[in-house]
Symmetry: C2
Subunit: 133 residues, 2 copies
């Protein structure tokens, strides 16, 4: 569980479509990405082909189309990539990363309330929080 879960920005964007839809064709992914990127459809196709070669996605044929699905979960990708970033930039110290986040400017009072609740839940050993995909 290493190379399969380290993805670039564009790769994540593609996986996002697959995670959200469950499965999709090249055209559907292309359509979904189009508003924010003007990629050629063949660019998307190539990317998927390579991701499949790597084992990150898989396809089944439906008529003339390939129906792609993710073989790695969003949850696992998140886990690995956050862990890697923490390792590289925070010496593996999760608390340091959180401290960093809390000293940033994008944290709202609502965010703080949410985090506080999660901390308390974690402290008490209760299982509270967002469902993991």
């Amino acid at each position: 569980m290493s190379e399969l879960h380290q993805l670039t920005e564009l790769q994540i964007a593609v996986m996002r479509v697959l995670w959200d839809k469950g499965e999709a064709t090249v055209a559907e992914i292309w359509e979904a990405l189009r508003p924010e990127r003007g990629l050629a459809q063949t660019t998307v196709a190539t990317l998927l082909s390579r991701l499949e070669k790597r084992g990150v996605v898989a396809h089944k044929s439906r008529a003339r189309q390939y129906l792609y699905r993710a073989t790695v979960t969003e949850s696992d990708v998140r886990r690995v990539m956050v862990r890697d970033l923490t390792e590289r930039l925070f010496d593996g110290d999760v608390a340091a990363l959180m401290s960093h986040l809390l000293t940033g400017r994008e944290v709202t009072p609502g965010d703080l309330a949410r985090v506080k609740k999660l901390v308390e839940a974690k402290e008490s050993g209760k299982e509270v929080g967002r469902a993991e995909k």
Copy 2:
């Protein structure tokens, strides 16, 4: 502040040496990286040369040696890369990232206490926390 702050694992490792020492020669960086990697010195030199071309580091000559220093701060690199990761994998939602961190297994009671304190300090508008580099 975009391309200058997006660094790969090896690049970060090199920058780590510069951030910690303030400035260093190729040989010093090579020496520092050697225990965990068996890179050729020329590999390190090339990497630095490229990073300099990009503007991430700069050098001054001292005798026959180049003395390199970072032109980007660890703090800014952290900021940008954490932001990018949050953007890509958590739809920009910092609280979601923190939630993710809190539901991981590597969070210790000490970590939780620390975070809780930080949250409270942030809520009260007080400036508490780790000094930023």
